[in-house]
């Protein structure tokens, strides 16, 4: 900023010297000071649980590109045992979060493109459709992040704590990834085809969710937990309907 005059500059390069004698700065934050060298190590070490420690979450982002692509691809095939077989028991959170974000973007792009084309063909200048972006963000993030957290909380409350919240979030996020190609295909301006596509996507991802969540719920002794699967199915059907009605309602 102040390149003229006197400027006080901290000399950071000598501070790297590991001087053993003398006063040293000691941090009391766990693992923050050594976060740099740890970050590049292939297997993240055990870090103490703390929701404010970034190094704790790095275990959920220990993936590479091919692994994420493979998991997203496998999630489109509704099969049980997704976490145990495809993810080797360790779910990541990169794929789920960016699947949801990509889905938001794709829904926004396709729906605005459909509206623009429709308006262009009918040569009417209606208002632009920015509210769709806010709608997509709230709908997808609420369903993809809020519902699994609620589901996990209710299973813990009912005493069936066989899974962590990361597994719930991961299952929902990967399940939603099937909507990305579906909404791209929904650019085809045939009304009945859009219903079929969105319905097929909802059925596929719903089947995926049920097959992966039901074993967790069935492992509990409490009879109420099995009924939660009905709520899961109902909410998922509601989401499919909402996507169809909100984003693909313009039929040319």
């Amino acid at each position: 900023m102040s390149q003229g005059g006197y400027a006080v500059v901290d000399v950071d390069d000598d501070a790297q010297n590991p001087r053993s004698d003398g006063l040293e700065f000691k941090t009391f934050l766990p693992a923050e000071s050594s976060g740099g060298p740890r970050a590049t190590s292939p297997t993240p070490p055990e870090v103490p649980y703390s929701p404010f420690n970034l190094a704790y979450y790095q275990t959920y982002f220990d993936v590479d590109t091919n692994l994420v692509l493979k998991r997203v691809g496998m999630a489109m095939i509704p099969r049980p045992g997704f976490i145990a077989e495809v993810c080797d028991g360790q779910i990541d959170l990169y794929g789920p979060f960016w699947s949801l974000t990509t889905l938001i973007l794709v829904l926004y792009i396709t729906s605005t493109l459909i509206t623009s084309i429709t308006q262009y063909l009918s040569s009417s200048h209606a208002s632009s459709n920015l509210p769709l972006l806010s709608t997509a963000i709230s709908l997808i993030y609420f369903y993809g992040l809020g519902i699994p957290a609620l589901l996990w909380g209710s299973t813990r409350w009912l005493g069936a704590g066989e899974w962590g919240v990361a597994e719930a979030l991961g299952l929902y996020g990967y399940a939603m990834s099937v909507y990305i190609p579906v909404s791209l295909l929904c650019l085809i301006p045939v009304g009945i085809l859009r219903w079929i596509l969105v319905g097929g996507g909802a059925a596929s991802s719903g089947f995926f969710l049920v097959q992966n969540i039901y074993p967790v719920l069935a492992a509990s002794d409490h009879p109420m937990t099995r009924l939660l699967i009905i709520a899961v199915i109902a909410l998922h059907a509601g989401l499919g309907l909402a996507i169809k009605v909100l984003f693909f309602r313009w039929v040319s």
Binding site: G5, V9, V11, G22, L23, D64, T65, L105, T112
Partner: protein, 258 residues
């Protein structure tokens, strides 16, 4: 752990931030090995006798400087040729604008062998100016009743988007200083600002779409240069770059569909 001993002032060293120290060599990934950060040899205290090993944040390396210890913290002052106390305000503003311009050039068109230290002295003024201009231009271009909504949406998108992208690359194990990454991402939005200006002036769709896409590619390329220097693993570079592509594409799409 060693609070019990107090040495001479030259031995009282505060450990600096890890992120800032590890070489963040901008746009020169080949020179970004761990050895290139060139810390001083442990036995050699820094001083005027060894000027090449010390890399400060501001100014050139051939300027006179003095060092002293203030309560155990070693600081360094440099005289850069003129006093800033009694200079006109225009000179101060022009200096800051020049600094913003130099950083913009460094991000968007990195010169070969340029001043890689320039971006360690991050600022958020340039990103703020770019973000506000983009929001204003997009809201001017949008329909009357939606302009406020567009304005707030663009501002919040840019702010939250760059924070999320930065946190994502930190979680993937990249060595990024948080605010430095925010600074670089903010400056990398500048080509998108250019695209929005072009599409404000030219309403033809066949001009607007190619220009916007080209500016999008430029922005992504500029930020990729930065993230190449963060020592991310080879297989994870795409995972860090993909969210940036998404983030910039939303902005470009908002320009295209206006």
């Amino acid at each position: 752990m060693s609070y019990d001993r107090i040495g001479t002032p030259s031995q009282q060293i505060i450990q600096a931030d890890d992120d800032d120290l590890e070489a963040l060599s901008f746009s020169h990934p080949s020179a970004s090995g761990p050895s290139s950060s060139s810390p001083l040899p442990p036995s050699q205290p820094a001083g005027p006798s060894n000027p090449s090993g010390v890399s400060g944040r501001i100014g050139q390396s051939n300027q006179p400087r003095t060092e002293r210890g203030w309560g155990g913290v070693r600081t360094e002052t440099r005289y850069t040729g003129e006093s800033t106390l009694d200079e006109p305000v225009t000179a101060t503003i022009m200096r800051d604008l020049n600094s913003i311009y130099a950083k913009l050039l460094q991000v968007l068109y990195p010169p070969k062998g340029g001043n890689t230290q320039l971006l360690r002295d991050w600022d958020l003024w340039g990103p703020l100016v770019i973000c506000l201009s983009l929001a204003i231009i997009l809201s001017v271009d949008s329909p009357q009743e939606q302009s406020m909504q567009v304005f707030s949406l663009v501002i919040s998108l840019i702010t939250i988007g760059s924070v999320v992208v930065t946190i994502n690359s930190k979680l993937l194990g990249g060595k990024v200083s948080f605010f430095q990454s925010l600074c670089v991402l903010g400056y990398a939005i500048a080509p998108i600002l250019l695209a929005s200006i072009v599409s404000l002036l030219v309403h033809n769709l066949f001009v607007r779409v190619p220009v916007s896409l080209a500016c999008w590619a430029w922005s992504v390329w500029a930020s990729m240069n930065f993230f190449n220097g963060t020592q991310l693993h080879e297989k994870r570079i795409m995972l860090a770059v993909y969210p940036i592509c998404l983030f910039f594409f939303v902005l470009v799409w908002m320009i295209i569909i206006q």
